[in-house]
Amino acid sequence: MDLNNTKAQMRKGVLEYCILLVIEGKPLYASNIIEELKNSKMIVVEGTLYPLLTRLKNDGLLAYKWEESTQGPPRKYYELTEEGRFFLNEMGTSWDELVEAVRMIKRNK
């Protein structure tokens, strides 16, 4: 079994959850989101974030508004929709359950 591949798969599984988590507080510009995700080593290259953002937006979990930027083109600021907030809550619950499950199994060894 390829360890790197498995790691990558696991990261991808929670990547969407992480994006929603990052955006939760306030409207964010893609490069802010990228900073957060890079710091926590969730993504390596920025290019992979854009398809995900577009898909989450098309699924109705995210919305964006244009804001003028002092340097360069206007920026898209993403924020959670009602649906996105609900989705994030649900995912949070199931994430906690997963973590708890793993922790229990480890402890009972």
Binding site: V45, G47, T48, P51, T54, P73, K76
Partner: protein
């Protein structure tokens, strides 16, 4: 010294040196191939381009600084290389549909495609796009387009509109690069075909020299490669020729069709319906003779759509094959098809409706006595044909003709004439007028539109060669048939002119209608008999 280009990414201007330009071009090209096919692909590309522009602005502290190879490398490292995207694609839930890995490495030269150039547009950017495609100054293209107006008139406006609708606008930088990509000159096409021919040869050699020459599966694979690449070359050539043929054919039919519909008098001659004759009759007026005016205009528009749309589709496919532009506009396609269907349905409804005008037939018979108490023979003569020179020879509905009388069109027709035995011992002329209509009353009204004249002078019956319809009467299969009842023992003589109206006269001599004129005929107990034959039988 290095060459620099000025490029526009996401509406920001950059000066970029040649190497960096080519690298960036290949990178954007790769992104376009990767994301382009997905429905949300353009949006993703625009986002990524906006980000690239921003990263480059950060790196070029002032507007004068040139973007270098290293800067592009840095940006690519941040945004991700082809391999990074391919890795992301392993994920089944990824929104980007797969493109085969080889094409993602982005080493191929950028192929040129036709786009509309929104940056240099006057109207829709069609001319500027063409300029980029043919590597010509836009001004020259515009002048050519303008001059074409004198050659093919308003068709170039039509062509412009077709291209405007069907050719996509270059939105992303990748598309703008494609717009100015490797020139599609004859020599380039030739070169790419040659390359493919070489590939065929290589594949063939590989196949022949392959160590596992006799291993069934590999052999089949290699054979497939050879066949595949030769087929591609042949197909490419066929597609180009086919595209050119479609465009030429499409333009020709369009010109023919529109000319005949709009500028000519009728759509029945010229273009695709060239029956080899010319007519001075105005189609609109002509149609008025048998279709109600409203339905005529509706059906004309329906025909225009019904025939015009397939021609436009031909043109569209042809230009698409030639210029290889992409289109994603399903809405326009479906809409066009819908309009076409609507036209078809309209035409059928109008047709059924019009056919309803012919559903009932009625007739009216008038019998008149022909005075011949003392005479032995009635001479049948026809009045002079006043309309002969006025009749349009090209048009006839059944037996009816159209004549132009003092600038007005008049419908007229030959009556039919036959002879039967009279049972009353008197000469009788029976005139039967027939017509059709949507109901019996309507048919009766149409019968009354028929005028037919004849006169008797002594023993001569002067018949009119035509029956006429009153002005504004519609053609409803009007007919006039005459029967002259001849009593036994009496004779008739038919003038040569009668030839045009006599129809199937039964006679003892079994003679053809046309041969019966110019002779004396007598009604005997057996039927109508030629006088000479009577005398011969008498002689015997």
């Amino acid at each position: 010294m290095k060459k620099t280009f000025t490029i526009n990414i996401s509406r920001s201007i950059f000066h970029i040196d040649e190497d960096a330009f080519e690298k960036l071009q290949r990178y954007l090209q790769m992104l376009n191939r990767h994301f382009g096919p997905a429905p949300e692909g353009q949006e993703i590309l625009q986002d990524i381009e906006a980000r690239i522009a921003e990263l480059l602005i950060e790196r070029t502290s002032n507007k004068v600084e040139v973007v270098t190879d290293e800067m592009v490398d840095e940006v690519i490292a941040r945004m991700g290389r082809a391999e990074d995207f391919m890795e992301a694609e392993d994920d089944q839930t990824s929104a980007t549909p797969g493109v085969d890995g080889a094409s993602l490495t982005g080493d191929q030269p950028v192929r040129r495609r036709l786009y509309r150039d929104g940056d240099n547009r006057v109207l829709g950017g069609v001319c500027s796009g063409m300029g980029a495609y043919f590597n010509m100054d836009v001004v020259i293209i515009r002048v050519i387009f303008f001059l074409l107006f004198f050659l093919i008139g308003p068709f170039n406006i039509l062509v412009y509109i077709i291209l405007w609708i069907s050719v996509p606008k270059a939105k992303t930088t990748a598309q703008r690069l494609e717009m100015r990509g490797k020139e599609a000159t004859i020599s380039n096409i030739e070169k790419s075909i040659k390359e493919e021919v070489k590939e065929v040869g290589d594949n063939y050699n590989k196949f022949m020299n392959s160590p596992d020459y006799d291993k069934g599966t590999t052999r089949m694979d290699r054979l497939g490669d050879v066949a595949g690449s030769s087929l591609r070359v042949v197909l490419r050539v066929i597609v180009l020729l086919f595209g050119a043929a479609l465009v030429v054919f499409g333009i020709a039919s369009l010109i023919g069709f529109i000319t005949t519909m709009v500028m000519g008098h009728s759509f029945l001659h010229g273009g695709m319906w060239n029956f080899g004759w010319e007519s001075d009759i105005n189609m609109a007026n002509l149609m008025n003779h048998f279709i109600s005016p409203g339905s005529y205009i509706i059906s004309l528009i329906a025909i225009l759509i019904l025939v015009g749309i397939p021609i436009l589709v031909l043109l569209f496919i042809g230009t698409k094959l030639l210029f290889r532009y992409k289109t994603n506009n399903k809405l326009i396609g479906l809409g066009t098809f819908g309009v076409w269907l609507l036209a078809l349905v309209t035409l059928i409804i109008v047709g059924v409706n019009q056919a309803g005008n012919f559903s009932k037939q009625t007739s009216q018979t008038v019998t008149q006595k022909v005075e011949c108490t003392n005479c032995k023979t009635i001479y049948l003569d026809m009045n002079d044909d006043l309309y002969e020179t006025l009749i349009d020879d090209h048009i006839s509905f059944d037996r009816m003709k159209v004549a132009e009388v003092n600038g007005k069109e008049k419908l007229l027709g030959h009556p039919s004439f036959t002879i039967e035995k009279s049972t009353t011992g008197e000469f009788l002329l029976q005139i039967k007028k027939r017509a059709r209509g949507s109901n019996t009353l309507d048919a009766q009204k149409n019968v009354e539109q028929i005028t037919y004249n004849f006169a008797q002078k002594d023993s001569t019956l002067q018949l009119d060669p035509y029956f006429l319809l009153n002005d504004n009467a519609k053609w409803r299969e009007q007919e006039v048939s005459m029967v002259l009842k001849v009593p036994e023992g009496k004779s008739i003589f038919m003038n040569e002119k009668m030839q045009s109206i006599i129809d199937d006269i039964e006679n003892v001599n079994n003679m053809w209608d046309g041969d019966m004129v110019g002779k004396y005929w007598t009604m005997t107990a057996n039927g109508l008999t030629m006088n000479d034959s009577i005398s011969t039988t008498v002689k015997k």
